[in-house]
Amino acid sequence: MSLVIRDITKRFGGLVAVDGVNLEVQRGEIFSVIGPNGAGKTSLFNVLTGVYRPDCGTITWEGRRISRLAPESIARRGVARTFQNIRLFGAMTVFENVLVAQHSHASYSYLDAMFRTRRFHRQEHRIARKVMDLLDYFGFAEKAEELARNLPYGDQRRLEIARALALEPRLLLLDEPAAGMNPKETDVLRDFIRTIRDDFSLTILLIEHHMNMVMSLSDRVAVLDYGRKIAEGQPAEIRRNPAVIEAYLGASAIGAVTTDA
């Protein structure tokens, strides 16, 4: 087991955002978390990446406990993420946005930077090159000097993924990467996610509302509702699961959907 989530609970006052969730994700898997709005998916991501501290439960990644670590420490263990509402560094260029994620891959000191030592030049050159390669991979090379905030929406979404990959993660958390995309763009994104999984040998945890994408992309799917996991399994199983249909469409819809399927 690569990522193991045990009994994770997160409360905000009286609201239980994540309620005793258990998940196990295998290396190399594309694992989706779905659920209605407010089901606790993003809260789960925030607990996973250290933005929130869980009230109880543990998370282990590659055999080491990462729950209750600071976000930066979790990032350094190879866990990268994108955000539901884009969080780029707007006043920085595309190049710099991605370069920031290489921060922990350079080890030169403050004094190295001040005196421009060989160590500084060597490492800066190395990380800049890695970033340029990554920008080429994403087709951003021509836009490298543009400010992130001036990019069109779709590019901003992809830049977030590029930035996350510059962390050189082994686990990538994508929070609604297809939000605001039309069906055609969604299809392109789906293929792209599969490609980066293979090219960067990633394990991917995905939150998404586009059901077609989730069902055709995921190896396994977990469903959250009111913070609890109500189902888990292969996409085909999830599609037929009455509890899932109820959560999404309400109890009265069960008959309609099952006959339809």
Partner: protein, 427 residues
């Protein structure tokens, strides 16, 4: 010829013209404004290297010193600008780049100033036996400049560690409080052990000797008065330290630390999720800003010969913050321009305006435009622009926030460097 070539050709001529004007009328201090204006323009427009650097070197190494020896107030003015420029650059790292609103920045300036003032005056005899003090200016002043950097940075870390766990308004309030704590300490540490001499302040503070400047100028066949040599010395010292600070600032800006500061300012959560250690990065910004301020504090105390808590009030912190905001948050040239503009406005422009009005009043000048006639002798003696400093200042800030909220020279991210990197990749 392309545009850059034309500009490169015209720029040195303009520089010469402005410096020439200052040389012909050295007593007209206000002529420093066009000189500095052209100096700044040189950092902004496209110029060939030789044109930019030779012109700037000419202004700073020959133009201003020659005029300054005629009118030492020019030196005084430039030294003030230089000190404030260094402070603005330091605060620019904290507020402009890292986005941490610090309202107690003058505290670090105070720490630098007192570091040298206490030991470079008889003051230290009050609590260290043996009458070793004042320490002689050579070599101790230079040693204490370094010590002021270290002390200020250390205090920055100590204050930063608890304070920087807070964000936004809370941080602003806490830094405001801590800034006042330093001033109040300076004000009250005259008992039980007299360390700072309280509100009376410390004087006289030793200056580093300037005989070597006199020796050099003698050999060059110039006879310099000692006070001119001192002014020249501080001009040179401030210039060197300021340029060093600009260089360090630029280098840090274009390193992983500078990028981490800006990333944290832009989005703290995203920055952390990309592996940037939050507290360490913020404390680093705080300590760097403090260090810049500390070294100028030491120079300030030697230049003034006198240090008292009066110089390190909240108003001082706010003035420096205003320079950063006016110039453009996060921009190095902006901080320099902000410092120059505010200092000149405070101690030169408004004062000359007042003097001009006074002169008109006293001579009873009559303004006659045909339809309106006004005798300046009737002008109320209350009307003195120098007294309206804060009001004019506030007005400028309000107008800036409405029309140019990003400052006079907004932050730009570096493009040239990227080109260089790309070339590096191709080769």
């Amino acid at each position: 010829m392309n545009r850059a070539s034309v500009q490169s050709f015209l720029y040195p001529l303009l520089t010469l013209a402005s410096v020439g004007l200052l040389w012909i009328f050295p007593d007209t201090t206000i002529l420093l404004v066009p000189v500095l204006g052209i100096l700044f323009a040189g950092t902004l427009i496209r110029l060939h290297r030789w044109s930019r650097w030779s012109s700037m070197a000419f202004v700073l190494l020959i133009g201003i010193p020659v005029a300054g020896l005629e009118n030492s107030f020019l030196f005084e003015l430039f030294i003030q600008i230089g000190i404030y420029a260094a402070l603005a650059l330091g605060l620019n790292i904290v507020v402009g780049m890292a986005g941490l609103l610090d309202l107690g920045y003058a505290a670090f300036f105070a720490i630098g100033a007192y570091t040298w003032a206490i030991f470079g005056s008889p003051q230290a005899n009050q609590f260290i036996e043996g009458g070793h003090f004042p320490l002689p200016g050579w070599p101790y002043f230079y040693l204490f400049m370094a010590l002021a950097v270290i002390t200020a940075a250390l205090v920055g870390v100590l204050i930063g560690l608890p304070a920087l766990r807070l964000r936004g308004d809370y941080l602003a309030i806490v830094t405001l409080g801590l800034g006042e704590v330093v001033r109040v300490l300076a004000n009250n540490l005259d008992h039980p052990v007299n360390i700072t001499n309280g509100p009376k302040g410390i004087s006289p503070v030793e200056r580093p000797p300037v005989d070597w400047i006199l020796a050099i100028t003698d050999r060059l066949g110039l006879t310099l008065q000692t006070n001119h040599a001192v002014a020249l010395f501080f001009y040179g010292l401030v210039l060197v330290v300021m340029l060093a600070i600009v260089l360090i600032n630029r280098r840090l800006d274009r390193s992983r630390f500078g990028r981490a500061w800006v990333a944290i300012r832009e989005d703290e959560i995203a920055a952390r999720s990309m592996g940037i250690p939050l507290l360490r990065t913020k404390v680093l910004a705080f300590a760097t800003g403090a260090a810049f301020s500390g070294v100028m504090g030491a120079i300030f105390s030697a230049k003034q010969l006198f240090v008292s808590p009066e110089s390190f009030t909240l108003l001082q912190s706010i003035t420096i913050l205003a320079m950063v905001i006016l110039g453009g948050m996060g921009s190095i040239q902006g901080a320099l321009l902000g410092a120059a503009a505010v200092t000149l406005l405070n101690i030169e422009v408004l004062k000359s305006l007042s003097e001009g009005l006074n002169h008109l009043r006293q001579t009873g000048f009559v303004l006659d435009l045909g339809f309106i006639e006004y005798n300046f002798a009737n002008l109320s003696s209350q009307l003195e622009p120098a007294k309206y400093e804060r009001m004019i200042f506030g007005l400028i800030m309000v107008l800036m926030m409405i029309f140019r909220p990003a400052g006079l020279i907004p932050e730009t991210r570096h493009k040239l460097e990227l080109e260089a990197r790309r070339k590096g990749k191709a080769s």
